[in-house]
Subunit: 227 residues, 2 copies
Amino acid sequence: MQTDLQIAKQSATLRVKVEETLRQAIASGRFKPGQRLVERELCEMLGVGRTSVREALRQLEAEGIITSYPHKGPVVSTITYEEAAQLYTVRALLEGFAGQQFAEHGTAAEIATLQAAVVEFEAAAASGVGARLIKAKNVFYDCLMDGSKNAFVRQMLTSLHNRINLLRMTSMTQPGRLAHSIEEIKEIADAIKNRNGPLAAAACKFHIDQAAKVALEYLRKNTSDTP
Amino acid sequence: MQTDLQIAKQSATLRVKVEETLRQAIASGRFKPGQRLVERELCEMLGVGRTSVREALRQLEAEGIITSYPHKGPVVSTITYEEAAQLYTVRALLEGFAGQQFAEHGTAAEIATLQAAVVEFEAAAASGVGARLIKAKNVFYDCLMDGSKNAFVRQMLTSLHNRINLLRMTSMTQPGRLAHSIEEIKEIADAIKNRNGPLAAAACKFHIDQAAKVALEYLRKNTSDTP
DNA sequence: TCAATGCAGATTGTCTGACAGCTTTTGTCG
DNA sequence: CGACAAAAGCTGTCAGACAATCTGCATTGA
């Protein structure tokens, strides 16, 4: 495992590292939605040539987290209310599917891993450390996606998560939301443990729908506030 | 409309044209799965510099229709039996969703367009012209994806269609399959016309499952034949 | 004063040439 | 015949250059 990661990082081409760095920078809010990404600045900032930067940008563009306009260059993608609504809809669909597959075909070991992730998420929430919470949530979703046993679902959900990341920090920091979130996640894990496919799907869908409600409400207010 | 398209094609950057050309070349079988794509050859073939080719390749890689290995270069993606099965599964899920949305929220105009597409598909099948058939099918799916009213579903399905294209020609040329295919498509359009969401979803899922059955059977035979 | 025009700066899109590094193949020697 | 070294073929990356294009600002004309 460890060596795998190390080897992966070593043999990773420069372009991939740039990709990861930029993805991280965007996810962490270092670059904000709508902000222009000027090639030369990125080159200096990262200490690499234009080739690597441009190819990395193409990749991020394909993933949808940046948008480029011809002869104007790329900007960090913004997300409209309608897009966010659509995004959460399809996310609910796919995660519901993943949950159902997990419940019906997951191994005992996978279920154990999932439950451990829930426990860690709870602990992270109690600790109040934001970074730990995000990490725990990522572990949980990673596990859930693995449970779908479907590489395409995994890939699509990863892409959706990346695009929603800018909003997700919102939906989790809303007062009272976190406690509900924990309960919903427990429901998911329980349904999976009990091998109840439809219930697992419903629990996943419910969880996303709740998150969507909060995020969309926030988005609605903020987009009308700043015309 | 026309001017829009013309302007779009004019202002398209070279890179995008290369993308489209390569996508087409792969979809049409000009480049076969597993085949290496050597940069210099592509440059000569297309008459463009390495920059444009490499950036286009990154895009196609992100879409999954080519795969690159570090320091070895890109090859046209191959698809294993398991991957194909997963692909059809998620496609059934998404198209089922699209069909349901269409039935429940599609406009009368959209339904009329869909029905026209069905008629054209039938005519194309009767004509026996392969190209016309493929075009008709694409129109039908385009219409169906629009009906989902969800840009993400549309994008994901487009990507899946691209990746499945190499197999799709198979599943449609199987003897007897085409007649069934027409019937299934009619079922879909009927369910949508009658505003029956669940039935539309089921019809879409059934259609894909049938296509999957044929394609997977073919794939199973061919992959075990050529070790 | 204000709108239209036009120029200058900034940035992207693309090409060329170059070179190191990794893979694969070839060739040679024990 | 096998191992090891040399060579060839590509990719990954950089730097520099230049045309095309966008944008903001200044100039000009009504």
